[in-house]
Each structure stands twice: as structure tokens, then as C-alpha cells.
């Protein structure tokens, strides 16, 4: 599926390439050129990362998980999110079982220059929001230009 007749994207076909990439992602057939650390679709929990000026925010989608059942650790520049989610209901008859059940673990590479001592985590409506502040010396600094 990765055969290309042009190196790179041609503006006219951008939307088609994007569509094809999305379909590849959808069916997980982007092989053999997927990132060695990429995770398959539907990996639990889903994670969003946003870099802000003062901090980096990581949202982990953990519906139905008690905060006490989640273990968060920062080591070097990786963040580990581990825990367990039980969705079983004692052997009742299931028509559908789509929700994740069992142990989960995800490791996130963090950008350089964060201060792990200034990390906080908040759980609301099934989303665990982790905010890690940038270290003071790594924050972008504005330089004022003086005339003269």
C-alpha cells in the first residue's frame, strides 16, 4: 500500500493521499513502513499530548478506572502509565464485549527540559490529565529589542 509514483505529495493529490493514509491507519495495513514504536489502533488507553509554553499536557482516556488503580511514574524523560481495568460482570451472558478489560501499560517519551517535581495529575469524567511543567531554564525567553 505504500507504493508512490511521486516522491512526496503533489498538491492536487493531497486529499487522496491523506484519505489513503487514514484508511491505512484504519485497517492497520500501513506496513511495512510503520514506526517501530507505533501502537495499533485501539490501544488502551488512548493518549493525547499537547505541548504548551509552560508545560506539557498528556491526556489518558481511562473511563471507569479508579484513580487509585493507576500508577504514574516519570523516569528520565519517559512517563509510564500502568494500571488495571475490570469490566467483567461475573459470568453473565455477553452479546458484545468491545471495552478493554485487564492490565494496561503505556510509556510516553517526553520532550527534554521538563521538571518532574512539578507534575500533577487530575482525573475527571474518565480522563486522566497529567501536566508536567517545563524546567525554569528551559522556558522560552522573550528578548526585547531596544532602539539606539
Amino acid at each position: 500500500m505504500q507504493v508512490r509514483w511521486y516522491d512526496g505529495y503533489v498538491p492536487t493529490f493531497n486529499d487522496f493521499f491523506r484519505l489513503r493514509d487514514e484508511l491505512d491507519q484504519l485497517f492497520d495495513i500501513g506496513l511495512p513502513l510503520s514506526n517501530i514504536r507505533s501502537v495499533p489502533r485501539g490501544t488502551f488507553p488512548a493518549i493525547n499530548i499537547e505541548e504548551q509554553k509552560e508545560a506539557v499536557c498528556i491526556d489518558a482516556y481511562l473511563p471507569g478506572v479508579e484513580p487509585k488503580d493507576v500508577e504514574l511514574t516519570i523516569e528520565e524523560n519517559t512517563l509510564a502509565i500502568k494500571g488495571r481495568r475490570e469490566t467483567g460482570n461475573g459470568g453473565r451472558n455477553y452479546h458484545r464485549r468491545e471495552r478493554f478489560s485487564g492490565n494496561f501499560s503505556r510509556i510516553v517519551s517526553l520532550p527534554e527540559g521538563l521538571d518532574p517535581d512539578k507534575a500533577e495529575a487530575r482525573y475527571h469524567d474518565g480522563i486522566l490529565s497529567i501536566t508536567i511543567a517545563r524546567a525554569e531554564e528551559k522556558k522560552p525567553k522573550q528578548i526585547t529589542v531596544s532602539i539606539g
Binding site: T43, A46, I47, N48, I49, E50, E51, Q52, C57, D59, Y61, L62, P63, G64, V65, E66, T87, N89, R92, N93, Y94, H95, R96, R97, E98, R99, F100, Y123, D125, G126, I127
Partner: protein, 131 residues
Amino acid sequence: MTEKNTQSVARKDDADLASRIKDTLVPHVDICEDKDSVTLYADLPGVAKEGLDVHIDRDTLQIYGRRVPQADAGTGGNYTEMPARDYYRAFTIGEEVDREHIAAHLTNGVLKVVLPKSERAKPKKIDIKCA
């Protein structure tokens, strides 16, 4: 498939909903059944009680979850596995569900809907009498 959904909803004179479900995520569900009820669990992370709409219309159970925009949300993520879109999913339900006693609970982003079966739909054991 989306097109089909949109049309069938539009037929029910609910054009508003049809436009709302256009760009939605399909939540994962577990559905289990015992002799008294059918129970549905849906993962709706990011949906608060105010944003949830569980609707029963004749034979259709519709779940619509609106994502609450966050106050501290920035300009957009650098890496996104889960776009901040609303959730929608619908199921048909049979005659045996007692429409009056359906209960829904939302805890930590998980919706639980209990659809009890009406008395006459419950399985009955027939006593066998020996003559």
C-alpha cells in the same frame, strides 16, 4: 454506513440529530443479558452528566455524549489518538424491554443503561404435573 444512518434518522423528522451525529465517534460498548434485564456499558470519556443524552424512541435506544470543552485546552495537540469529538451510537431494542423502568448511570466516563424485561417476557418455568 454513515449515510444510511443519517437518512434513517432524517426519516424520523429529526434533522437536528442527523446533523449532530455527522462527525461523531462510536463508543465501545459491552452488552450483557440475564433473565431479568439487558445491561449496556458504554465508554464515554470526557462526557459529563450535562452532556449526556440517552433517548428511547419506539424501538431505538440512542446514546449521544457531548464532550465538554476544557477551560485549559490550548490551540491543539501535538499528538492525538483521540479527537475531542462527541459520541453517538444507537441500538434497536425489542418489545420485551419495559420502557418505563429503564435506568441510566454515568460514573467516571462510563455509562450504564439497565433495560429491564417486562414481566411477560421473562422466562417461566412450567411445572409438570403427573397424572
